[in-house]
Structures are given as structure tokens and as C-alpha cells.
């Protein structure tokens, strides 16, 4: 059972009760060692993680917490070894199908009872679906962030453009931007996943969330006409020259200067792109944000919002302390604290937390809680199984470089689908 079911993001705003009990339980006396392996190795996340451990340690003076922070990229391969050979009590990972291999091998503990007892089914309702595989819930989220189009407000003003809401407006905008000698969108596809973001949005807008999930679950052939319709919309932009030239040679960071220098007007990206834009000298007046425009009015809007998580490996020794830590992490108070602008600068998962007073975080929160009725996807490489994601994203890149390769690309993806599911 691979599907990650949708839950309306409206639940995020709706859920109101039961946060007190979550916090109370974590005050029970805990002792022994608590071993935590974390991938929060970038400076800001690292400080957040260390801060959480410190505060949790103060609440439980008898508990000896051993925190090991591993480089985020290296962690992705190391987790396979340590889950089997040397399991910690708490480990970071990602939601969606990215945790499927570990769940199938029984390496993550089903903590649905903790969700019930701790009231998480209420407070974390918006992300429950992404943590659920089959009948079990296999971890807790601690942060997530929106995707959307970040654009140069000053360039749009200069050209007299408004943020587009429909596909026609989008195409008209883009044509105006191209006529002014710029690219509509910067993108760097060297490491492939950025193209996955484009496919997610185009497909969710063209065919809807349920179709997108069915496709990433391998239930629909890639040669289906509806998939072709998604690629046709994509090709419309490619043929106009909307995307940065030579994007296949750049990483997402290397593609950023084109937007900062004004050679490209917008970037479809996660909220983490805002920080480097500001560091590069763009002010908040210059950066704008809009939700990816509607393509088919009959399709409900759905969004990508990748969720990062904590899990309890089945080899954990101090399960009691691990469960208390998970409740502590997801508590409303802690969520407000760690996702604030001086912490992760992302969205809290607990519906009773408050969102930092940042222009983009507020916009993202509003979009995900009110304007994403179709559902919330993780991201292409987390919704599709790893092997399929790799091949498919190579296909997207091939298609973006040369749209005439569409037929052979779709055949390749269809072959892969038949092999991997």
C-alpha cells in the first residue's frame, strides 16, 4: 500500500483542541541515554536542533542526551547503515514515499498510538496523511515549507505586469518578459529535482492532485494522454524560451544570480530560496511571491509542501524518552519557536503555533491553509519511489533541453514504471 492519502489543508486551520496533553506527558521523569541522529547540519537548522536538545535536557535533568549531527547529504546514504547496525532512539528523515523502504523493512516504529494519546491527530492533522503508510503512522513532522513562484516585483512593475492567476495571464506575462530581453524563469536542472518541481505543478494544475498521486504511485501509464497534456503545457513555455538557457549545467544555487541580476524574472522554488536572495542583495520590496497559476479552472489547486520529520527506529533502546522527545518537538510552543525567522524560517506543523511575521511565510501559510483545497503533495522525489523519481527527473531534464524527445522520454518512463512498481 503505497499511497499517501490527501487531507485537506483546511484542517490545519480548523483543528483547535488538545495541545495541552501533548506537553504534559513529556514532563514525566525520564532517565538513561537518548541517542539522536540528525541531518540538520546547515548552520540555522543545526542551532535549532542543538537548542531543542538543550531545552529538552533541562526539562529532564536525569536524561543523558547524545546528539550526533551528520551532513545532510551524507545522511541520505548513512541512514541505511545505522538503522540496521547501530539504531539511534530518534532519527531525522522525510515524509511520503521516501520513508517507504524503511517502513517496509520494519525499521521505523509505528507510532499511531502516540498520535492518538498525544492529540497529534488534531494538532498535526494537516501532515498526518504524509506520515501514514497503510494503517500505521511512522513518525512526526517538525517543519515544512511552501513552494511557489518567487518573482522580481520591480521588474514586473517596470513592465506593468501583475502576478498571474490564470494560464493565459501567465503566458501573456511571460511573453512580455521575453520581449524585454529576459527569461521568465530561472532554473538549474543539473541535479534534476528542480525540474521535478515544475512537473509537479504543471501536472497538479492540468490533471489535479489525485491524478498526480496516482501517477507517482505507478497506477497510470506515463504514455497516457493526460500526461501528454501536462507536457504540452510545459512545452508551450519551453518553446517560448521561458526558461533559462543552458539550465542543465547549473545547480539551483548557480541559477539564482540570473534572477538577482535581473536576467530572469522569476523562480519556481521552495521558500528556502528567499534567504539566499536576500543575502545576494534583493530587498523584500524587490521579491514577490505568487501561487502557481491555475491552468484548468475545474481542477482544485494543490501545492507542494515538503515535510521534514523525526522517527523512532525499531531498534531504539529508550523508546519512552524518544516518544517524549517527539511530543516535545511537535508541541505548539516549540513549533512556534523553532520555525520562527531566527530559527528555521519555515512553517510550523502544529495548527496552534503562530507563524513568523515574515512576508513569505505568512503568504505560504495562507496559501497552504486556505487556497490549496486539492491537497498537499510532498515533492516529486518524495511522492514517487526513489528509483522511479531518478529516471523520471532525468526524463524531465531531457524534455526541457529538447522537447522533440517527448515520445522517447515517455516510453522510457513507462518502461521504468513497469519495472519498478
Amino acid at each position: 500500500m503505497r499511497s499517501i492519502f490527501t487531507t485537506g489543508a483546511a484542517a490545519l486551520a480548523a483543528a483547535t483542541i488538545l495541545s495541552g496533553s501533548a506537553f504534559a506527558e513529556s514532563h514525566a521523569a525520564l532517565s538513561g541515554d537518548l541517542v539522536i541522529f540528525s541531518d540538520m547540519s546547515n548552520p540555522a537548522p543545526r542551532a535549532v536542533m542543538e537548542g531543542m536538545v538543550e531545552r529538552f535536557g533541562e526539562m529532564h535533568p536525569d536524561l543523558n542526551i547524545e546528539l550526533t549531527i551528520i551532513d545532510r547529504e551524507a545522511y541520505k546514504t548513512q541512514i541505511r547503515n545505522f538503522l540496521q547496525a547501530n539504531p539511534p532512539d530518534v532519527a531525522n528523515w522525510y515524509a511520503g514515499n521516501r520513508m517507504l523502504p524503511y517502513v517496509e523493512a520494519g525499521l521505523f516504529t509505528d507510532i499511531s498510538d502516540l498520535w492518538e494519546e498525544g492529540g497529534l491527530t488534531e494538532t498535526l492533522a494537516s501532515t498526518q496523511a504524509s506520515m501514514t503508510i497503510g494503517d500505521g503512522i511512522y513518525g512526526v513532522p517538525y517543519t515544512y515549507y511552501q513552494w511557489g513562484v518567487y518573482y522580481r516585483e520591480d521588474i514586473f512593475e517596470e513592465l506593468g505586469l501583475e502576478a498571474p492567476e490564470t494560464w493565459d495571464e501567465e503566458i501573456a506575462n511571460c511573453q512580455a518578459i521575453i520581449d524585454s530581453g529576459r527569461f521568465c524563469y530561472t532554473i538549474g536542472t543539473k541535479f534534476l529535482w528542480t525540474a521535478g518541481g515544475w512537473f509537479d505543478y504543471l501536472n497538479m494544475r492540468t490533471n489535479g492532485y489525485d491524478f498526480h498521486m496516482a501517477l507517482t504511485n505507478g497506477e497510470i501509464p506515463w504514455t497516457d494522454d493526460r500526461v501528454r497534456a501536462t507536457f504540452a503545457n510545459w512545452q508551450q513555455l519551453i518553446d517560448m524560451g521561458a526558461f533559462l538557457e543552458n539550465h542543465q549545467t547549473y545547480s539551483w544555487q548557480e541559477a539564482l544570480p540570473f534572477m538577482v541580476n535581473g536576467e530572469a524574472a522569476a523562480y519556481l522554488m521552495g521558500n528556502f530560496a528567499v534567504a539566499p536572495m536576500r543575502e545576494a542583495g534583493l530587498t523584500d520590496d524587490q521579491i514577490g511571491f505568487y501561487q502557481f497559476p491555475q491552468i484548468d479552472p475545474s481542477i482544485e489547486m494543490a501545492e507542494d509542501a515538503p515535510t521534514d520529520t523525526f522517527h523512532i527506529p525499531s531498534g531504539a533502546n529508550n523508546v519512552e524518552a524518544a516518544r517524549a522527545f517527539l511530543l516535545f518537538v511537535t508541541s505548539a510552543e516549540n513549533q512556534t519557536l523553532i520555525n520562527g525567522g531566527d530559527g528555521l524560517g519555515q512553517l510550523p506543523v502544529n495548527s496552534q503555533s503562530s507563524v513568523d511575521d515574515d512576508e513569505f511565510l505568512s503568504a505560504g501559510f495562507e496559501m497552504l491553509s486556505q487556497n490549496s483545497p486539492g491537497g498537499i503533495a510532498q515533492f516529486f522525489d518524495r511522492d514517487a519511489p526513489a528509483e522511479m523519481a531518478q529516471v523520471a527527473m532525468q526524463g524531465f531534464q531531457t524534455f526541457m533541453v529538447d522537447p522533440s524527445s517527448l515520445d522517447s522520454v515517455l516510453d522510457r518512463l513507462e518502461q521504468a514504471r513497469q519495472r519498478f512498481y
Partner: protein, 313 residues
């Protein structure tokens, strides 16, 4: 420590000492044999074994494996897998073009094999690329090839050509990476030849000169035969260098653009089995087995030549 146990004369050695002599070499070999079997022989056997399974690399908490026996299916998949053939073809291109480092190194060595002021400095400058890490070489060439800011397009622009995106074009990307790899490899071959040239017998050169040999003829008939040991070593290290060309590909293109267009077998194996999205241990092992068999041909040829040389002399 066995020195004391070995007398000058071995005639009529007592049985105990004879036994010592028989055991001693094995004792000395033991650490090497142990590590060789644990880190080389056993993994080879395991690769063969895993290649018959469909396995994502995970074991259940109770220790049972999630692997499913699939017989030869991984190999059948390989046969139908266009990415495998792309990688194999790229491996062949690497092998052939990388050998250009040998004549390249030879000519630089001949050029530098003279006595002028500061020649040591020039030699070190030419050797410099071999000293820096492959990752740095890859980065430098990536910037050099950059389609927007790169030097190569500036140069092509001067003569009215370009712009080209070498690493972004499936037709040129592999050649672009090989060119980057040739830079340090040529330096390596140059050093081998420079040492070789020191050992060239001046009397033979003198004699050949008296006989009227010069230029290419001198090189071909007098100098090169004396450089044969250097050529042999240069050939061996270059072939090995071509086969382990992994870091440059990973840094410069990450196997892309598109479907593994610059991948070689080693990279493809790593990507399907060990990378972020790689969970196909069985398939990766099947690639490893194929790569091993290909290398085996080369290694067997190498051993055969060593054996023949030792016997022949």
C-alpha cells in the same frame, strides 16, 4: 627475527629449521592474505551472490534480509537497459582517448628534457595538475566550460564561433570530461617519461648520431626502445585511470545531462545502488560483476605479460 634462524649454509639443516623455513613465508604473507581476502576476495564473491537478488540493501530488525532471489533477471535487465550500454560505450571512449595522455606526456617530457635556467620550475609547473585533487580539476574545467561566463566561449567568441555548452550537450559532454581528465594524466605520464629519459644511455645516442640518425628516426629507433619500461608503466596507470574515472563525472555533470549520457559503468553502478535514489543493490552488483569481468581480461593480459617477461629474460 627469523634472521637468526637462518644459517649461512643450508646443507643438512635439521628438520625443525626446515619446518621454520616452510612456515616463515606464510607467516609474512598472512596479514596481506587476510586483508586481501576480507576486503577483495570476499566482496567479489558477495557481488556475484547479490547480483542474483532483487534487494534494496535493507535488512529487517530481526536480521532477515528483504532480498528476493531473481536468478539472472538483473543481467537480462542490463541487456535491455540503454543506460548500461551508454555507460559501456562511454567506458570505451574513455579507454581509447585517455591513452592520448601517453604521447602527450612523452612530448612534454622530451621538450622539458633540456638544461636551461629554471627548468626545474617549468617541470614543476607542468607537473602541478597531477598534484591537485581531481575534484578541483573538475571544478576548474566546469568553470572553464561554463556556457555563460566560461573562458572557452570567450575564446570562441574572438574567432566568431560559439557559444557552445559542452557539458550540457549530450554529444560533447563526455569528451569535455575526458579533456579535463587528460590534463593531470598527461602530467603523470610526463613525469614517468622524464625519469625514463634520465636512464637513456648517452653512448647509444652518441653512436646513433655518428651513424647519422636524427629527429623522428632517432626518437623511434633509439630513444623509444630504451623508454619501453616507462611506456609500459604509463600505459598501465592510464588504463587504470580511465577505468576509475568517477570523481570527474560526479563533479562535472553528475552523470547527465539527460539519461546517464556521461556515465561510465563505475558511476552507473554507484548511482543505481548507493546514491541518494539508488536502492537497487542487486542491479548494482550485476553491473559490478560485468565491470569485474571486463577488468579481468585486462588484468589477465597484464599478468600474462609479466609472467612472459620474467620467464623470457
Amino acid at each position: 627475527m627469523t634472521m637468526t634462524a637462518m644459517p649461512e649454509t643450508e646443507i643438512a639443516a635439521p628438520p625443525r629449521r626446515f619446518r621454520q623455513q616452510a612456515i616463515a613465508p606464510w607467516l609474512f604473507l598472512l596479514p596481506g592474505l587476510l586483508f586481501f581476502s576480507v576486503y577483495v576476495i570476499v566482496p567479489i564473491i558477495q557481488s556475484f551472490q547479490i547480483s542474483f537478488y532483487d534487494w534494496n540493501g535493507l535488512d529487517r530488525p530481526d536480521g532477515t534480509s528483504t532480498a528476493v532471489y531473481v536468478g539472472l533477471e538483473n543481467y537480462r535487465d542490463l541487456w535491455d537497459d540503454p543506460d548500461f550500454w551508454t555507460s559501456l560505450r562511454n567506458n570505451a571512449i574513455w579507454l581509447v582517448l585517455y591513452l592520448l595522455a601517453i604521447p602527450g606526456g612523452l612530448f612534454i617530457a622530451l621538450f622539458l628534457n633540456q638544461t636551461v635556467t629554471g627548468i626545474r620550475l617549468y617541470k614543476s609547473l607542468f607537473f602541478f595538475p597531477f598534484v591537485i585533487s581531481q575534484v578541483v580539476v573538475g571544478l576548474v574545467f566546469t568553470w572553464f566550460y561554463d556556457p555563460t561566463f566560461g573562458m572557452i566561449n570567450e575564446l570562441l567568441g574572438l574567432v566568431g564561433l560559439g557559444p557552445v555548452n559542452i557539458l550540457g550537450d549530450t554529444r560533447y559532454a563526455t569528451y569535455g570530461i575526458i579533456a579535463a581528465g587528460l590534463w593531470p594524466q598527461t602530467a603523470y605520464c610526463m613525469i614517468l617519461y622524464l625519469t625514463g629519459l634520465n636512464a637513456v644511455d648517452p653512448e647509444q645516442i652518441e653512436a646513433a648520431r655518428l651513424d647519422g640518425a636524427k629527429g623522428p628516426k632517432m626518437l623511434w629507433y633509439v630513444v623509444l626502445p630504451q623508454l619501453r619500461p616507462a611506456t609500459f608503466i604509463a600505459f598501465v596507470v592510464t588504463v587504470i585511470g580511465a577505468l576509475r574515472s568517477f570523481d570527474l563525472i560526479s563533479i562535472m555533470t553528475d552523470g547527465g545531462p539527460g539519461f546517464y549520457s556521461t556515465s561510465v559503468l563505475a558511476f552507473y553502478m554507484w548511482d543505481v545502488a548507493l546514491s541518494e535514489f539508488g536502492f537497487r543493490m542487486g542491479y548494482g552488483s550485476a553491473i559490478a560483476v560485468i565491470l569485474f569481468l571486463i577488468m579481468l581480461i585486462y588484468i589477465a593480459g597484464f599478468l600474462w605479460k609479466m609472467y612472459r617477461d620474467e620467464k623470457g629474460v
